[in-house]
């Protein structure tokens, strides 16, 4: 199973849950599983959100693959100068 890790900020919408095991698939699949479990996250994982999959930050992640042992974090999408 893949693991989603929620930051302290997102944990206010997951009733304090820090880690959630999910079926592997695309990031879109993973988000669907996350929202099914924590509906309060609806609209919180939108276009301003990037993800990190196994340490790599990806800004347009929906179609990226999340492997069976991957760790996924939702992060603020950041810009550069």
């Amino acid at each position: 199973m893949a693991t989603v890790v929620f930051s302290r900020g997102l944990q206010q919408y997951t009733a304090g849950t820090e880690r959630l095991e999910v079926e592997p698939g695309t990031v879109r699949d993973v988000i669907a599983q996350v929202l099914a479990r924590f509906p309060a996250l609806e609209n919180r994982l939108d276009s301003g959100t990037a993800v990190s999959i196994d340490g790599e930050i990806i800004n347009e992640p929906l179609l990226e693959r999340v492997g069976p042992t991957s760790e996924l974090h939702f992060l603020p999408s950041i810009s550069g100068g």
Partner: protein, 754 residues
């Protein structure tokens, strides 16, 4: 990438292809462009920090002979609040439109509220004076503390703080709150032997690019528009103008000029949509150029901020917990770089329990724009200053303390994920072993060290490599060259084609000559666009091998590309002479036509980079003046494609950070008017202010890039603020927590400590 790969061209230092034009003054920058029949546009700007626009009467301006068009906010389409990404940054197009031209309220001194186009700059200036504006002046706020105070004047009545549950019912100047981190900070502090906590402040500072914003725009009768401008992203200008004016992107062609500095400040639009609209109204091309005062008053600086850091550690130096609050001003519209500040503060360190609160606050100052590692230098000033103080408290060497807690591959970052292969430990080791670190100090001198982190960027890039008929090649990218990227891209093409870099001409294309490119920013061009160039050049090599195979009538796998030549390894009978790229280019017509390669990609595998700096200062105890007498910057570049430009980025970042630490600040009067909108009163460091900045390039290859590249442009501005402040601390015995360390402030601190 292959660890064993031996490079022939990568890592060399050829003269940049655009160098001669630049040193002889022939290069064309934004304001150099002109068209026949061109009008001159000027912008009317608010003299008030916060005011309601009761009325604007432009008729007297239009009545002036020579005035051909006048714009006010109502001439721009209304756009709903919509977050989009025209380039690298998130932007709310409604806010962008209201920043380009105010509607019902002006929100800062310098806010644009009308524009004119006339037959001469003098007439345009006179026309501005004839526009009659009635203002209702409102109270204003200039700092995060003023903006968050109870009863503070509200900038946007429709702004309710996001990130707080439930959403507040009253509007606020706090646009959003985000919390990062992991573990239980209270447990972290319970585990600590030593706990330190301090607050720090930094001031609004400008990137200080030498070239002001400039544009020429022409809107044709057929609806097709041309824009010539200095920008970090031609495709960004196209997308933003299209959005703001209700056009298709295909109706706008943007041609970027050479750029005289950007540092993030040219990643948005100010004049471009106005020039286009004035051109559409007047039927003539319109040129607009900001003067220096407008650049300071109305383009985007970076945030002023308040930073609170609490850090706990064991007696042996092991960090146990951290609690951070960051309050960054965004200027007049939401969107400060506070989240990046939160993600980068303490990112170089292993900390089991961390809480980081980030607040994005609007104030009556110009909307901030990106500035080199946006947000990171501000928070690092707090974090790295406190770590220095902790080292003193523990009696530890400050590099040793950092080394003890340094992140490495597999370590969980404070912002969540685990790092892949990174080079922070190697960077600290190089810093510690540098002769500078053990050199003796003179009287009234002190030494400080600090570290910094930046993510670096990937994003979208396209590139083409065209082989000319004589076997030379052209590399076309779509990323304006700010820091020598053309030379680096040419080196990568040379490496793949195996021909001398002098036989390659790198050019920056416009929005119609190359595929889409995100803007130049985020330290991404050498990494991401370089990856596109490598792939495009590999495409060319594949075609060259095919052409040779066709000529020799052999299978493709019997042709090897080596030393700029096709070599037949599987000839039928006698081995033919190798065919050079020149031979193959000459025969292109009979082997399949022109040879050109292209590649477009969303770059994956970004490699973060770490830097660490040593700063020596000398403090004049009579005047409070701080002089930087020696400075060394060390950074992991992954792989330095053109080492001179990596070193240049490190030196430039250090110089800007030193200015931020010692001198720079936006100074406002009691009415919220900027008092120092010029380089005489806003003091950036000049060459005579600084010593030669020594550099050490560490190369811990990014395994996700074919050559091992990480980004380099932003990290070097992260450590200097704290490195300077730590040096001043050791020279004076006084911990300064508020920037800039100007002579009056330093003198006051010294005298208070006596």
């Amino acid at each position: 990438m292959s660890e064993e790969r031996k490079f022939r061209w990568i890592g060399t230092r050829p003269i940049r292809h655009d160098g001669l034009d630049k040193v002889t003054g022939r290069a064309n920058f934004g304001a150099d462009f002109s068209l026949p029949g061109m009008l001159h546009g000027r912008v009317l700007r608010s003299p008030h920090a916060h005011a309601r626009i009761v009325s604007i009467d432009t008729r007297p301006a239009l009545a002036l002979e020579g005035v051909k068009a006048v714009l006010v906010g109502a001439d721009l389409p209304d756009i709903p609040s919509q977050i989009g990404s025209g380039g690298e940054q998130q932007v709310d197009f409604r806010d962008l439109s209201h920043n380009v031209l105010a509607r019902d309220k002006v929100l800062y001194d310098g806010h644009a509220l009308a524009a004119v186009a006339a037959t001469s700059p003098r007439i345009a200036a006179e026309a501005l004076e004839r526009i009659v504006v009635e203002y209702q002046v409102l109270p204003h706020v200039l700092t995060v503390d003023e903006a968050m105070a109870p009863g503070a004047p509200i900038l946007h009545e429709d702004m309710f703080t996001k990130g707080i549950e439930p959403t507040p019912s009253e509007p606020s100047n706090v646009a959003g709150r985000v919390e990062l981190g992991h573990g239980d900070p209270e447990q972290g502090f319970a585990d600590a032997d030593v706990i330190l906590e301090r607050e720090f402040t930094t001031q609004t500072v400008h990137q200080g690019y030498i070239e002001p914003h400039a544009v020429v725009a022409r809107a044709g009768e057929d609806g097709q528009c041309m824009v010539w401008c200095c920008t970090q992203g031609a495709f960004m200008v196209r997308a933003y103008c299209a959005k703001l004016l209700g056009l298709d992107v295909s109706q706008i062609k943007v041609i970027p000029s050479e750029i005289g500095g950007g540092f993030g400040g040219k990643t948005t639009v100010y004049l471009e949509p106005l020039a286009l609209l004035l051109s559409r109204k007047s039927g003539r091309p319109v040129k607009m150029v900001m003067d220096r005062g407008e650049v300071f008053r109305a383009s985007g600086p970076t945030s002023g901020a308040r930073v609170r850091v609490k850090l706990g550690a064991k007696r042996d130096g092991t960090f146990t917990g951290a609690d951070v609050s960051l309050y960054y001003d965004a200027g007049a519209f939401k969107g400060s770089p506070v989240m990046a500040g939160g993600m980068t503060i303490l990112a170089p360190y292993k900390i089991p329990h961390v809480k980081i609160e980030c607040f994005d606050v609007v104030v009556n100052k110009p909307k901030v724009a990106a500035y080199r590692a946006p947000g990171a230098p501000i928070s690092a000033f707090g974090g790295e200053s406190l770590i220095d103080e902790l080292a003193d408290e523990l009696g530890m060497d400050p590099i040793e303390l950092r080394m003890k807690n340094a992140v490495s591959e597999g370590t969980k970052a404070v912002y969540g994920p685990k790092f892949r292969r990174i080079g922070f430990e190697e960077t600290l080791e190089a810093l510690r072993s540098h002769p500078h670190y053990s050199a003796p100090l003179g009287p009234n001198q002190g030494r400080g060290v600090a570290a910094g982190f930046w993510f670096n960027g990937g994003m979208q890039s396209s590139a083409s490599v065209n082989v000319n008929e004589d076997g030379t090649a052209v590399v076309i990218s779509g990323c304006p060259d700010i820091g020598g990227s053309r030379a680096s891209l040419a080196l990568m093409a040379a490496e793949e084609l195996q021909i001398p870099v002098e036989r390659i001409r790198p050019v920056v294309g416009d929005t119609e000559t190359v595929g889409y490119n995100d803007l130049t920013g985020g330290s991404r061009v050498t990494f991401a666009t370089g990856m596109a160039v490598i792939q495009a050049a590999q495409d060319v090599v594949a075609q060259l091998r095919k052409r040779a195979a066709k000529i020799w009538e052999v299978e493709l796998d019997g042709v090897r590309w080596e030393d700029g030549r096709a070599i037949c390894t599987n000839g039928n009978g006698e081995t033919p002479e190798p065919l050079t790229i020149r031979d193959l280019a000459r025969r292109a017509a009979r082997t399949g036509g022109p040879i050109a390669g292209t590649a477009s990609l969303t770059a994956r595998g970004i490699g973060p980079s770490f830097g660490a700096h040593i700063c020596d200062v000398e403090v004049d105890r009579e005047t409070g003046r701080v002089s930087v007498v020696r400075y060394t910057a060390v950074q992991d570049a992954g792989k330095a494609i053109h080492p001179s430009y990596v070193e240049g980025q490190m030196q430039g970042g250090a110089a800007q950070g030193i200015g931020w630490a010692l001198n720079e600040a936006y100074l406002y009067d009691e009415n919220g008017r900027l008092e120092n909108p010029g380089f005489l009163d806003y003091r950036i460091p000049v060459a005579s202010d600084l010593p030669m900045i020594d550099t050490v390039i560490v190369e811990v290859a990014n395994p996700m890039h074919p050559y091992g590249v990480r980004g380099v442009g932003e990290t070097p501005i992260v450590p200097p603020l704290a490195a300077v402040a730590n040096a001043v601390r050791h020279a004076t015995g006084v911990r300064f927590c508020d920037l800039p360390l100007s002579p009056p402030r330093v003198l006051e601190g010294i005298e208070a400590a006596r």
